[in-house]
């Protein structure tokens, strides 16, 4: 199995490696595959980049800095009124 790792399988392992520790066999197979496969090396870098970007975006959103306001003014006003009504019942 070591030498027959396809890109499809390699991409599964690379994705899994973002979430959990791979087994020794999986790591060895993957390392060999990456040595000879430029496309999978790229894919791996893309996964890493994607996660890094999301980390920045998430940290920002969690601190309350929404990057944009997806709420159109009308919808926003209605929502605020609705929340106001709901809160009124609860104070």
């Amino acid at each position: 199995m070591l030498f027959t790792l396809s890109c499809r399988l390699a991409s599964q392992l690379l994705s899994k490696a973002q979430d959990t520790q791979l087994t020794l066999t999986e790591r060895a197979a993957l390392r060999l595959h990456l040595l000879i496969c430029r496309s999978c090396r790229r894919f791996n870098r893309q996964l890493i980049l994607l996660r890094q970007i999301l980390r920045v975006l998430v940290a920002r959103a969690r601190a309350g800095h929404a990057l944009e306001t997806p709420l159109p003014a009308g919808q926003r006003r209605q929502l605020l009124q609705r929340i106001g009504r709901a809160m009124r019942k609860n104070i």
Partner: protein, 200 residues
């Protein structure tokens, strides 16, 4: 419960002003994750209600908006938990085919991944990039999106995601792999220029 109508009115005004101040951050956060306006609105409303009921627990250790987002995150997890019970295995076969079509019959990339250029911090600054990413996330089927959002945008442990969605870890790996492949393809065709005509 206050019986003095003036006092009560003032309290209401204060609450509404308070909701107004935090509305965009909360709604934006919820919408990015649940990808559905009505659901996002409901979650935000529930968050404010829970917040006024539990305001005593707010210790000021974090900023108010961070505290509110903390409450919202619980509401989002609850929402995913309920949704998980509803989602079936119907799309499974279709997704299998989709992944298979992404590779050739020997399991090689077809087409091959291109070169992505860009610094994560700079990309995250760009509103157009964020729009592209949002659209790509929006195009994911629900089961994939939920797994991806919980893992990457709620930064939960895989075990936690499995418990919330009530799926096995191997099912989670499959979903995340599919989600990432789709996002990769979507970002590559809509943002990153495929720079190289690969000779083979």
């Amino acid at each position: 419960m206050d019986t003095d109508p003036d006092k009560r009115k003032r309290a209401e005004m204060r609450l509404i002003a308070w909701a107004d101040k935090h509305l965009d951050a909360l709604y934006g956060y919820a919408f990015q994750r649940v990808r559905h306006a009505q659901t996002a609105e409901d979650l935000v409303q529930e968050t404010f209600l829970a917040a006024i009921q539990n305001y005593r627990k707010f210790k000021g250790r974090s900023s108010e908006v961070t505290w509110l987002i903390g409450i919202l995150r619980h509401k989002i997890a609850d929402h995913f938990r309920c949704q998980a019970a509803l989602s079936g295995e119907k799309e499974q076969a279709e997704e299998d085919e989709r992944v298979a079509a992404r590779f050739n019959d020997r399991g090689g990339w077809a087409p091959k991944p291109g070169v992505w250029e860009g610094d994560p911090a700079q990309l995250a600054e760009k509103e157009e990039f964020w729009d592209t990413l949002k659209n790509c996330l929006g195009a994911l089927p629900e089961p994939l999106a939920h797994a991806f959002v919980m893992r990457e945008m709620e930064e939960q442990d895989p075990d936690e995601v499995c418990r919330t969605l009530e799926i096995s870890s191997s099912n989670l790996w499959v979903r995340l792999h599919r989600a990432r492949l789709r996002l990769r393809d979507c970002l590559e065709s809509n943002w990153f220029v495929f720079r190289e005509k690969d000779p083979k």
